[in-house]
């Protein structure tokens, strides 16, 4: 992704309200680049910072700054896999299992 898109992505994360994990319904409402990034991380089921940097086509430092913001916002958690630091989407421990009304706005 180019620098302009990356800056937008950073701003989108900054302006988010903090959550305790991601719900899939929320995920569907996110701006495209953020949604794509999280989709990718979900499917990879744990990525290293270098992988994230190459996904974003950014320097590792830049990627790390974004990652830290995402952790702060409650979207991502750090996990240890084979002695390596990896990062994973934090799926919200929701006990509420009906679909919020929001979903209908998403697909309309």
């Amino acid at each position: 992704m180019d620098n302009e898109a990356f800056n937008t992505l950073k701003r989108d994360v900054e302006s988010m309200t903090e959550v305790e994990g991601l719900t899939m319904t929320d995920l569907l409402t996110f701006p495209d680049d953020l949604r794509l990034l999280l989709n990718w991380m979900m499917r990879e089921n744990g990525v290293q910072i270098e992988e994230m940097a190459s996904y974003l086509a950014q320097e590792v430092n830049e990627a790390r700054m974004l990652l830290e913001k995402m952790i702060e916002k409650g979207l991502i958690e750090e996990i240890k896999k084979k002695e390596e630091e990896q990062y994973q989407v934090l799926v919200k421990s929701s006990r509420n299992y009906r679909v919020p009304k929001k979903i209908w706005q998403v697909i309309e």
């Binding site: 994990g21 899939m24 569907l28 979900m42 509420n96």
Partner: protein, 259 residues
């Protein structure tokens, strides 16, 4: 890495559970390590195809979700317990598991009342993949959209959306396909089930592909033979030469080729 395949439909009764059981069985017979997880906690059904009842199934996904046991404790070894149905004979000794949901009415009402932790479900699927060294994990889902069907779509490498050639199914399927695109599913296939035999399956395929701009993996005929078996066995293993089974194997091949 295991391939995660979820089978979904917007409306109920499309044939998801029968398709999941048959596709997973075909892939297990081909020698892959396969598990099915029944995430339809509100109305579980797929265990019936493997001859399980409340007594035989032992621990269930419900107990795992309440942190009362590990997910491996719940995995029922199908290859070791094929039962006496003729179709399932070909599953003997295969690396094939089912994670069943409870059919105890108390358990079901408890889940309906309290809900459950979708995050924990995700964790369980990851652990199952590692613990059993799976090549394929199939997820049978409750019809419609809720957090856990959305989660299964979001983590899928392959999503199979089952529909009947019925106007209500067409509209619902459009919703599911939109969501799958929003969640960026890498491989999306439509499966048409219960097609009337008086219509040309190729025409149905073209029509459906035209509407959804997505590939149709197979068009399966409506057949009394299937209804008559009443989910008591794996149809495509019992009647491998039946037209339904031939179409089903096309879908299994599409899954194998996709990921």
């Amino acid at each position: 890495m295991a391939v995660i395949v979820s089978i979904h439909s917007f409306r109920g009764g499309t044939g998801k559970s029968n398709l999941t059981a048959n596709l997973a069985s075909q892939i297990a017979v081909s020698g892959k390590r396969v598990a099915i997880i029944d995430t339809d906690i509100q109305s579980p059904g797929i265990h019936v195809l493997f001859g399980l009842n409340e007594e035989k199934m032992g621990r269930t996904l419900n107990e795992f979700l309440r942190s009362e046991c590990s997910i491996e404790d719940v995995a029922f070894d199908i290859g070791e317990h094929i039962g006496d149905a003729p179709g399932r004979k070909s599953l003997a000794g295969k690396a094939f598991w089912l994670v069943p949901s409870s059919i105890n009415s108390g358990e079901i009402s408890r889940i309906l009342r309290d809900g459950y932790d979708v995050g924990k479900l995700n964790e369980g699927m990851n652990r199952l993949i590692k613990g059993l060294k799976l090549d394929y994990l199939f997820i049978d889902t409750h019809p419609g959209l809720n957090e856990e069907t959305l989660l299964s779509i979001a983590i899928s490498d392959v999503l199979l959306v089952v529909m009947r050639p019925d106007q209500q199914d067409f509209q619902g399927t459009a919703v599911t396909v939109d969501i799958a695109r929003g969640l960026d599913v890498p491989n999306l296939f439509l499966l048409v089930n219960k097609a009337l035999t008086r219509y040309d399956p190729n025409q149905i395929r073209e029509h459906v592909e035209g509407i959804f701009q997505a590939p149709v993996a197979c068009v399966l005929p409506l057949t009394e033979d299937m209804a008559d078996m009443g989910s008591a066995d794996i149809f495509s293993l019992r009647y491998p030469d039946h037209p339904w089974s031939k179409s089903l194997r096309e879908a299994a091949q599409a899954v194998l080729n996709a990921a």
